[in-house]
Symmetry: C2
Subunit: 187 residues, 2 copies
């Protein structure tokens, strides 16, 4: 607020701050409780300033979600690049990336975010399209039924990460990680 005048103006930085704060707030109190005013306050900007960067609240949410998908996609890409085994390569990366999203057994804020965003049909489409595109790309190496189970289990893990905020549902995460990784390897 007060620093906004002293510090040199860096619109890119403010925009990033808005995105990050929105992600954090949405993770904390759900996407339903996300308000423009709260995001603006958290980023040290007034509501008017907010609307200078984003034409609408939905535009912000879309941007945050696109950010999250891009980050996840990057992680998957990196994991795949370092994987010599062709069979199940994408699935293995998908599963491992999901595991990395969690911190100390709990779901990372980004996970909570992406899950709450599935409430929005339009954002669901964004995710669906990403997934379908990647799947079509790796159809030859990742079409096996057992790999589908592994991917679904990763999704389930993502969901369970939310519940583990309240209590521990999964006993041994490392064992599960190894078990799932083994599931993606050729027999």
């Amino acid at each position: 607020m007060s620093t906004a005048h002293t510090r040199p103006k860096q619109p890119e930085l403010v925009r990033r701050a808005l995105l990050d704060c929105a992600a954090r707030l949405a993770a904390e109190q759900g996407l339903a409780g996300l308000t423009v005013q709260a995001v603006a306050d958290a980023a040290g900007v007034t509501k008017g300033g907010f609307f200078h960067h984003f034409p609408s609240k939905q535009a912000l949410i879309d941007a945050v979600f696109a950010d999250l998908v891009a980050h996840f996609d990057g992680e998957v890409e990196a994991l795949m690049a370092a994987d010599p085994e062709p069979f199940g390569r994408f699935t293995r990366a998908y599963v491992e990336a999901t595991f990395r999203e969690r911190l100390l057994g709990r779901a990372a804020p980004s996970t909570i975010m992406s899950l709450s965003m599935l409430a929005d049909p339009e954002l669901r489409l964004v995710w669906s399209r990403w997934f379908e595109g990647r799947m079509a790309q790796h159809a030859e190496t990742d079409a096996s039924p057992v790999l589908e189970i592994a991917r679904l289990a990763a999704d389930g893990l993502c969901l369970n990460g939310l519940l583990s905020l309240d209590s521990t549902v999964i006993a041994d995460i490392e064992a599960l990680r190894a078990e799932l990784a083994a599931l993606t390897r050729p027999r």
Copy 2:
């Protein structure tokens, strides 16, 4: 509106209609977009009438969620009662019940469950407690790691049910069902 006067008053029926309409609306446009007015309209009742049946919006949501959990629990119980094999009995029922929730058209109740859980920490607790209770009850038959994977895959399937509204992510559902069922049986 006009029929409300001629038709015999059946509060139980109206209450049920409110619950069902709330579940349907929540499935269609997310729990965030759920409004008391919309629920009342869909059930053929005014907003004032709504508040006669439920003291608050949260009370309605809680009731809907409890309803869904109870229904799912009943399905699991029935499936377990008809299963002679002790090993993985609960997991098998859990997986099969998830598949059955998925089959009824576009708006699966399990979809709403996950959405509600994400939105409200208190509802997450309700689900956690149910799951933990059942797991403790069947710890001897369902503690195997492979069974955990099967349950997680079921959760993931539930999540994917959301996405299937927009596009088909899962190729062969029946094959997946068989594969997952086989996973829960002793080797």
